[in-house]
């Protein structure tokens, strides 16, 4: 008994040193397992959603590999160093956004891509998904918290500038996500509740202005969302068909590859933004709840990482990234199930496409990096 008591602390020490390989790699096994689980689930659905295309799955696998690699690299970066370079990164990012508006290329009437010789074409707005919360965290970390009004105003300007530039491309989904990520940082910096309430009132008042600033196709999306039956074969088609896909999946779904809505082309964008409808149709409510549980665990893990972070910069960043991830999930599922208007937000780690996967993994990499450098309690 005495031996045990004497040995117990030693054993605890060993236990802590057990996952030393994770610590040395700066990776968080919990997050890693969760995101691998989500990605696997996603690939299964993607195979079905892409019309049983092995090519699509292979391509996505390669992207996941690259994104994982990117994540591992990001986790190695010391955030204290990043903090130092933030002003420059922010200015560079905003300049790239301006460049997109001037020289960008794109499709369907939106300019989102930048072609720089020697580099693969990329979307500067994706970079800003990381740069904006990083910048806000950097700015507010060295200011008193709760932030003073002036600092709040400056922070807001730092958020609004890239958001407006991206909204002008136009890319409503991304600007919305970036705006959220910035606001979350301000919120976790301890923004006084009276400012929070005031911001909400102002936001509500600004809605008509927002409406007037929208492009016709964006306005159409809102109208369609409010009244999808007004144009069942045109703009309302997507929402109507995805609701039918989800609803007809029922409790247990129609079975993998058995979704009639998705396989018979009734459902649009089956492998990208609307992939959750494929999941809901083929795996039912059970399947969607399984995926939501995985997301929920990721969010819990993110909040724990935020809670355990010591540095204010780390805390605010971790909380903001976690909640942004949450917004991704909620906006995507809400729009597909007809709760929100259709804005182009992919389902994190499941929707087909490389760019958003890379950015999301990078943000998870940042979370891991924060966790790896948390103060060790002894």
């Amino acid at each position: 008994m005495a031996d045990f008591q004497r040995l117990a602390p030693e054993a605890r020490k060993h236990l802590r040193q057990g996952p030393g390989v994770w610590v040395r790699l700066k990776l968080d096994p919990w997050l890693l397992i969760l995101l691998l689980a989500i990605m696997s689930f996603g690939l299964i659905v993607l195979y079905s959603g892409s019309g049983a295309s092995e090519a699509a799955v292979q391509k996505q696998l390669v992207r996941y590999g690259l994104a994982l690699l990117g994540m591992v690299i990001i986790t190695q970066i010391n955030l204290r160093l990043v903090q130092r370079w933030m002003p420059l990164l922010y200015v560079g990012g905003v300049l790239l956004l301006v460049a997109v508006l001037l020289f960008g290329v794109g499709a369907k009437g939106a300019q989102r891509w930048l072609l720089i010789p020697g580099l693969p074409r990329f979307q500067p707005s994706e970079i800003m998904k990381l740069v904006v919360p990083l910048t806000l965290a950097w700015y507010l970390a060295s200011r008193p918290r709760p932030p003073h009004l002036t600092h709040v105003v400056v922070s807001m300007l730092l958020v609004v500038m890239p958001v407006l530039l991206i909204a002008k491309q136009p890319d409503l989904g991304t600007s919305l996500l970036i705006g959220c990520s910035g606001i979350f940082v301000i919120f976790f910096a301890g923004l006084l509740w009276r400012y929070v309430v005031a911001a909400m009132v102002l936001g509500a008042a600004a809605l008509p202005l927002l409406w007037m600033g929208m492009r016709p196709y964006q306005q159409q999306r809102v109208i369609t969302f409010l009244e999808p039956e007004s144009d069942p074969l045109g703009a309302g088609w997507n929402i109507i068909q995805s609701k039918i896909a989800i609803g007809s999946g029922g409790m247990n779904g129609k079975g993998w590859l058995q979704g009639t809505q998705s396989h018979l082309d009734f459902l649009p964008e089956t492998h990208t933004d609307f992939i959750i409808a494929v999941l809901a149709e083929e795996f039912g409510l059970v399947g969607v709840c399984a995926l939501l549980s995985l997301y929920f665990l990721v969010l819990i893990r993110g909040l724990i990482i935020a809670a355990q972070a010591a540095h204010p910069f780390d805390r605010m960043l971790a909380a903001s990234l976690t909640l942004t991830f949450f917004v991704y999930v909620v906006v995507n599922i809400s729009m597909v199930s007809g709760v929100l208007p259709v804005v182009g937000v992919p389902l994190p780690l499941v929707s087909y496409g490389g760019t958003s996967a890379v950015t999301l993994m990078a943000s998870l990499g940042l979370l891991m990096s924060i966790h790896a450098r948390r103060p060790q309690r002894t």
Binding site: F188, Q241, I246, G247, L285, C289, F296, L299, V330
Partner: protein
């Protein structure tokens, strides 16, 4: 770390942690909301969305039955089905959707000729209620060049599709249309009468003639299939299928060889030929001239062509065989003679002295014979052989209206006896009552005189005259006059075999003295073979005897119209040539009526055509009869 700073640090940490808890609460609430939303869709509304999903992918499609074929008596195809390639547009698939219709039409016009008429009708179809993504026909019956042109340029025309369908085809086209009728596209008026379910996949319906009368037999029963389609309406698989029941095949008595012969004989003339098999009552040939092509009506005749047909003063659309009301003229004389002697009013050996005219009263109006100076002493036999009008003036004056009407009716005049030609008309068998109603006058002796020579108010269709010839040839025996011989190979004796209403026809004519038939027959043989017979030239040089009666109808007047030129008017005032008869004289195989409008006399205009028909019938029978070349036969 100083205490105060420590304190703010702790305070900040507490605040941060409380906001994290708040975030957790938000996450839990929103996720619960999402799950609730999904559960609402997937469990609460499950039944609704399953139905929607099935409606989406499964469609009940009607499958059109194949229309029954029509054969002639020897099995030659008269009406078949062939594939027609139709140019269609799916407005939803056009660049620009429905607003892109005009642009697409303009583009298409560069590749395939589409006239204003096509576009007008296309727009009308476009505006009818239709299922989204269903094709709308623009042009029917594309030829191979057009199909190739469109196929090669397909990439330029998203939303343009060539859709094949089976449509009616008449291999003989003209010449047969007045016997068969035709099918045409179903229009609003047809729709009101048709069974909407059974015709849900059918585009055509019998509009005229046999095609119209036997519509329910020819059409068949619609089938249906449940198909799985994608959002663009493309059929991916058939889930279940109830095969349509194809229409039943008809065999007609019509002999294509005879029909062709009849059409040829009438080429360039206005008139009609109807030939009936006296043993069955089956119609062997039914031609009306001028004629028109039946196939152009199947896929939709152009407005200009239709207008030309409708407005032609030759009246090609008019079915003279069934609807032409002609004065039968001297062709009724055998029946008038029978009426006289069988009713007992006229003695069998009654004779008159013919000075070339007849007077009702001394010094009254002269009713002239066709032969100036007259025929001398005339009995019944001579009156038929030489077609002596004065004899008939005399006996019809004695008989008056009723006996003539009674006997003419026994032979089918004044009624429709053909069972399966819905357009047939009954013409006029004028009774005293008829004259009172229609002319508001009483029957005068002069009316009887005119009726006695088949003129005046009396009129008959060529089909009725052929029927009369049949009853004469059969010595009074009636058959149902009909086109149909068999359905799906099963003999049809009466249309009531198919559940149709038989038209009433008179009872077999039984004379008080059966030998009177022989007297009339002998006289009608005389017409063809006696030296003075009016049809003698047509009866000459034949291996068989024939019987007949010529007729020459005076054209009393036609409506004068400023557009007729003088030559035409003169032509239109010429007599109609008529003929009825049968062959061979004993055991007849063909009874016939021939009418040539403004052809002059019956002996010269009509009888020669009948003779050619007789010959054709003999030839046709020889070629089918198994004993035809038997030297002992």
């Amino acid at each position: 770390m100083p205490w105060s700073k420590m304190d703010t640090h702790r305070k900040e940490l507490n605040q941060f942690n409380s906001r994290l808890w708040l975030a957790l609460l938000l996450i839990v609430l929103v996720f619960s909301g999402l799950v609730a939303r999904l559960a609402y869709l997937q469990i609460w509304q499950y039944d609704h969305y399953v139905t929607e999903s099935d409606d989406n992918r499964q469609q009940l499609q009607a499958v059109a039955p194949t229309r029954g074929l029509i054969y002639d008596t020897k099995g030659q195809l008269l009406a078949g089905n062939r594939a027609s390639h139709n140019l269609t547009l799916v407005p939803e698939r056009l660049p620009g959707g429905r607003k892109g219709v005009d642009a697409a039409l303009a583009d298409l016009a560069q590749v395939v000729s589409v006239d204003a008429d096509d576009i007008k009708r296309f727009k009308r179809r476009l505006n009818q209620p239709r299922r989204p993504y269903s094709p709308v026909a623009l042009k029917f019956q594309l030829n191979e060049t057009e199909i190739a042109q469109i196929t090669v340029n397909q990439h330029r025309f998203p939303g343009v599709r060539i859709v094949p369908e089976l449509v009616r085809y008449y291999p003989q086209d003209e010449g047969f249309v007045h016997a068969l009728g035709y099918v045409g596209r179903i229009n609003d008026r047809d729709l009101a009468k048709l069974d909407a379910t059974n015709y849900s996949a059918t585009d055509h319906v019998g509009k005229l003639g046999v095609e119209r009368f036997y519509e329910s037999e020819l059409h068949g029963t619609v089938g249906h299939q449940t198909v799985e389609t994608n959002a663009r309406g493309r059929v991916l698989q058939v889930l279940d299928r109830l095969e349509p029941v194809p229409g039943r095949d008809l065999t007609l008595f019509l002999d294509a060889q005879l029909q062709q012969q009849a059409a040829q004989l009438l080429q360039g003339k206005r008139g009609a030929i109807v030939a009936i098999d006296p043993n069955t009552g089956g119609v062997l040939a039914m031609a009306s001239a001028p004629s028109y092509g039946a196939n152009q009506f199947v896929t939709g005749i152009s407005r200009a062509n239709y207008k030309a047909l409708r407005e032609s003063d030759e009246l090609p659309l008019f079915n003279r065989a069934l609807r032409g009301r002609y004065p039968p003229a001297s062709t009724v004389k055998p029946v008038i003679a029978l009426a006289g002697i069988d009713s007992g009013i006229i003695a069998r050996n009654y004779s008159i002295w013919d000075p070339g005219f007849y007077q009702l009263t001394e010094g009254g109006r002269l009713y002239r014979d066709w032969k100036e100076g007259g025929h001398g002493r005339v009995n019944m036999h001579k009156s038929i052989v030489e077609s002596v009008d004065t004899f008939y003036y005399s006996i019809s004056h004695i008989m008056g209206n009723e006996p003539m009407v009674k006997y003419l009716a026994k032979f089918g005049l004044g009624q429709v006896t053909i069972a399966d030609q819905p357009e047939a008309t009954k013409a006029v068998l004028p009774t005293k009552q008829w004259k009172r109603i229609n002319r508001n006058a009483s029957w005068f002796p002069g009316d009887s005189l005119n009726m006695g020579i088949g003129q005046g108010f009396l009129s008959a269709t060529p089909t009725q005259l052929a029927t009369m010839a049949m009853v004469l040839a059969n010595k009074g025996e009636w058959h149902q006059i009909r086109m149909i011989k068999a359905i799906d190979g099963k003999t049809v004796n009466k249309v009531s075999d198919l559940g149709r209403k038989d038209p009433a026809h008179p009872a077999n004519v039984s004379l008080n003295r059966a030998s009177d038939w022989n007297k009339v027959h002998a006289a009608m043989v005389g017409v063809m073979h006696d030296a003075k017979g009016t049809g003698q030239r047509s009866g000459a040089n034949s291996s068989y005897k024939m019987a007949g009666k010529t007729g020459t109808a005076q054209v009393l007047g036609i409506k004068q119209d400023g557009t007729y030129d003088a030559a035409k008017i003169a032509e239109r005032f010429r007599d109609h040539g008529l003929y009825i008869g049968w062959a061979p004289a004993k055991d007849p195989v063909i009874a016939i009526a021939v009418i040539v409008e403004n052809g002059g006399g019956g002996s010269s205009a009509a009888a020669p055509l009948a003779r050619k028909m007789f010959d054709a019938r003999m030839q046709s029978l020889d070629s089918t009869s198994p004993n035809g070349d038997d030297p002992d036969g």
